[in-house]
């Protein structure tokens, strides 16, 4: 399929990626700033999230209200979020409004006011976010799963800790901003009905004189215990399981994706069929592939009535263990159809394309073409997937539960 993909890395290290999509009227932009929560200093956990919120409360010549009004009047739907490695600013609107929106984002990233008199409000919101997590058992168990599956700081949650948030000051937040918000390592991707030359020139004007900073090193702590339980009175026991897989750059990547899709690709996949359809144990049960640059994992989830939790966990583990034993041709045909169809449908969404460009660049240092991905999907077969599963069998499970009672091992 013909694609118009462009790339330019500026002298200061900022990478601009773009895809021109002529059949749409909108465009989406996506900044990945190398300021994720793994870089939160141990006594300042939650600082990246506080900084992201504060950064939109006035920047450049705009005060907080003027900034919000300007983006709203441009019709920019947007959000700021903090992941493990990046703080992400996402926005989408009519393509004709993208240049004006980019100028405002240059202020937010480079010239935020980080107003002292708003810090208490932002901290109060961060603390409520933490408390709110306690009311969301599903989100809570997945946060807890990461804590048991990854070493610190890879296991950090963007919400941080209450003690650390309470102690944050204007100067600590400003210092964090000046250290981590920098062009080298930042990826800006834009997808939609855009003009590449004009875009590149504008981004050069807005960000070309942004001074680079030092890369931040992280030191990994010891591997955590692989079992955890949180006692809580809930209707459903929350079950979360993780095991190691391979990262995107690995030669086995597509086979690993294939394996996850055998488990959880469509409603005829194994987890849904065996656990929900045949036994009625769950409404929600799934497995999903998660990747960092140097490691990949598969995370699984099931929520079930407390009395049936043991049986559900046993079934889930049995399905994981049975994977390397063999996969049907039919199963692979179905997952190939699903992967191919979502690849094509992604071409209809500016937001998906903007994210895919940035994610490829971060993980692989290049953007994969549609044809390359399609060819890789075509190559999947039972032998390829089983071969991968024999090299990387699901094992050494991290298991975390949340419910009234811990499950016996």
């Amino acid at each position: 399929m013909a694609q118009d993909v462009f790339q330019h890395t500026f002298e200061n290290g900022l990478t601009l990626l773009a895809e021109r999509m002529e059949h749409v009227r909108s465009a989406a932009l996506n900044f990945l700033i190398p300021a994720g929560c793994v870089y939160d200093p141990p006594d300042q956990r939650g600082i990246a999230a506080v900084l992201a919120d504060l950064s939109t409360r006035g920047a450049g010549s705009y005060d907080s209200r003027a900034l919000t009004l300007a983006l709203d009047n441009l019709g920019v739907d947007r959000s700021e979020s903090v992941g493990a490695f990046h703080t992400r600013y996402w926005g989408a609107t009519l393509a004709s409004n993208i240049p004006s929106a980019l100028a405002i984002y240059a202020d937010i990233l480079r010239r935020p006011h980080l107003p002292e008199d708003e810090i208490d409000a932002v901290k109060a919101l961060a603390l409520q976010d933490l408390r709110g997590l306690e009311d969301e058992p599903r989100a809570k168990v997945l946060v807890e799963l990461r804590k048991h599956h990854y070493p610190a700081p890879l296991s950090n949650d963007h919400r941080g800790t209450a003690e650390a948030i309470e102690k944050l000051t204007a100067s600590s937040i400003r210092e964090h901003h000046s250290k981590l918000f920098r062009p080298n390592g930042t990826i800006l991707s834009v997808a939609g009905n855009i003009d590449w030359t004009a875009l590149r020139d504008q981004v050069g004007q807005l960000f070309g004189d942004w001074k680079g900073g030092l890369e931040t090193e992280i030191k990994l702590g010891p591997m955590p215990a692989k079992r955890g339980h949180l006692t809580k009175e809930v209707e459903q026991t929350q079950i979360a399981v993780a095991y190691d897989s391979v990262p995107v750059a690995h030669a086995d990547y597509y086979a690993a994706m294939g394996a996850v899709n055998v488990l959880s690709g469509g409603m005829s996949s194994r987890l849904f069929t065996e656990i929900r359809e045949k036994r009625g144990l769950c409404y929600s049960v799934w497995a999903s592939y998660q990747t960092m640059k140097d490691r990949g994992s598969v995370l699984c989830y099931a929520g079930t009535t407390n009395a049936r939790a043991r049986e559900t966990l046993d079934m889930l583990l049995a399905e994981l263990r049975r994977l390397p034993a063999g996969i049907e041709v039919e199963e692979v045909e179905r997952l190939r159809a699903g992967l191919k169809s979502s690849l094509i449908m992604q071409q209809e969404s500016t937001a998906s394309r903007a994210l895919a460009l940035a994610s490829d660049w971060y993980h692989l240092g290049r953007v994969r073409s549609f044809d390359e991905i399609q060819a890789a999907i075509e190559r999947l077969s039972p032998e390829v997937i089983v071969g991968h599963l024999q090299r990387f069998p699901p094992k050494d499970f991290t298991i975390v539960t949340l419910g009234p009672e811990a499950l016996a091992p």
């Binding site: 059949h23 019709g75 409000a121 209707e235 159809a337």
Partner: protein, 412 residues
């Protein structure tokens, strides 16, 4: 883009918006039936039936249904609301015939006893899952007390008791009455050939039984005005919902109501945002307008620290009263309009979004509305329309529900 429509002799309607630039096709079977069409003895049957539709027919087992959809790489699902049950699939253009074949087949389900009993367990799990989501529970209860004896207050999921008690034959009787051809609309959007699609649907659905259709209790609902607190000691946050009356889905004022709700409680730059979220008083506060057949309502909600709930409630009511008395300023209308126009355009870029949009406007307004028609309608809203909608439907005439650790909350 081109619009096509047709009604089969048995009453089934077919509509399509064809767009050669699209890369996929979205299909939807819209059954005009929802929780408001239920009697108390079958509470939750519409939603349970939606699940049972995927459990097979004389030609397909439950597993066959899932496998056949997956074989063509379909992105498929279904949802049940107060008024509609919608089965939908997005596929690549070469699979339209297979997708229609599966969807048309499953809309005549066998409702086998074994499947019925197994799926009952799944529904009870689904009820349990939502019980653990406080905002969802709060919304469900708020609707119930707002609508009081109006059938729009019926729970979509039903209760563990009503689902446990439900019999297969009760579901079958409901199916026979509500899934008749004149109560079903087939909608498609994207890259498809209308003539071929039209013939296909006729071939698969042309013999479906006809029958009387209808819906009772279409009166507007002004709201009970009640104020209730539901105590959930284990929760950390207090979740509060205020429901007020609004225009119905075929009321010309609905676009003004949409923009008004956005100015009051969108998640960026709205009155509630500046009053509650910006100062850190509540971690979320929003207002949304929902339109139904015969009536509509605004749902304003916030969550935050229980200790702050009483003051936050006063603040929210303060905002609603201020808007009721003084309306919104023209800058606020423009701000809401810019956001809405951008959302309409972006939502229309995928066949899925268009299929939903044309299906809903055909259901509620009995007309085809292009993207430009919708853009034009929002562009046409002036402050006088906002005043008119406020005069007819006061946003501060609220019914209130609080759910969280508080045992009481004083009515401001």
């Amino acid at each position: 883009m081109q619009f096509h429509n047709r009604r089969l002799p048995n009453g089934l309607q077919i509509i399509a918006e064809t767009s050669p630039a699209a890369r996929s096709v979205a299909l939807g079977f819209f059954v005009r039936t929802g929780s408001r069409d239920e009697t108390p003895d079958v509470s939750g049957v519409t939603h349970f039936l939606e699940h049972m539709v995927f459990k097979g027919t004389p030609h397909r087992s439950a597993l066959d249904v899932n496998r056949d959809f997956d074989r063509i790489g379909a992105d498929y699902n279904a949802f049940t609301s107060e008024e509609n049950t919608v089965f939908h699939a997005a596929v690549l253009p070469e699979y339209v015939a297979q997708a229609v074949d599966i969807l048309a087949d499953i809309l005549r389900p066998s409702l086998r006893d074994d499947d019925f009993n197994m799926e009952k367990k799944v529904i009870i799990e689904e009820i349990g899952m939502y019980e653990d989501q406080p905002m969802f529970s709060a919304y469900d209860h708020a609707k119930k007390i707002y609508f009081a004896d109006h059938k729009l207050g019926n729970s979509i999921l039903g209760s563990v008791q009503s689902i446990t008690d439900l019999k297969r034959d009760q579901m079958h009787a409901y199916f026979k009455r509500r899934y008749v051809a004149p109560n079903i609309l087939v909608a498609a959007a994207g890259r498809l050939d209308w003539d071929a699609f039209n013939r296909l649907v006729e071939e698969k659905c042309g013999s479906w039984e006809s029958g009387p259709i209808g819906r009772d209790c279409l009166r507007p609902a002004p709201g009970s005005g009640r104020f209730e607190v539901m105590t959930r000691e284990k929760l950390m946050q207090e979740h509060v919902i205020l429901v007020a009356p609004g225009p119905s889905a075929d009321d010309p004022l609905r676009h003004a109501a949409d923009l008004l709700a956005m100015a009051i409680g969108d998640d960026s730059g709205s009155r509630l945002y500046w009053e509650l979220v910006d100062p850190g008083l509540a971690d979320s506060a929003d207002c949304g307008f929902h339109e139904y057949e015969g009536t509509g309502s605004y749902y304003t909600s916030f969550s935050g620290e229980p200790d702050e709930a009483a003051e936050n409630l006063s603040r929210v009511l303060g905002v609603l009263r201020e808007v009721q008395q003084g309306s919104i300023r023209s800058e606020e209308l423009e701000q809401a309009r810019s956001k809405m126009l951008s959302r309409v355009v972006r939502g229309s870029e995928r066949p899925k979004g268009r299929m939903q949009a044309i299906g809903m406007s055909w259901t509620y307004q009995h007309e085809y509305r292009s993207v430009d028609d919708d853009l034009k309608a929002y562009r046409g809203v002036v402050l006088k329309d906002v005043r008119a909608v406020l005069d007819r439907f006061p946003v501060d005439r609220v019914t209130t529900l609080a759910l969280g650790p508080l045992s009481s909350l004083s009515r401001p």
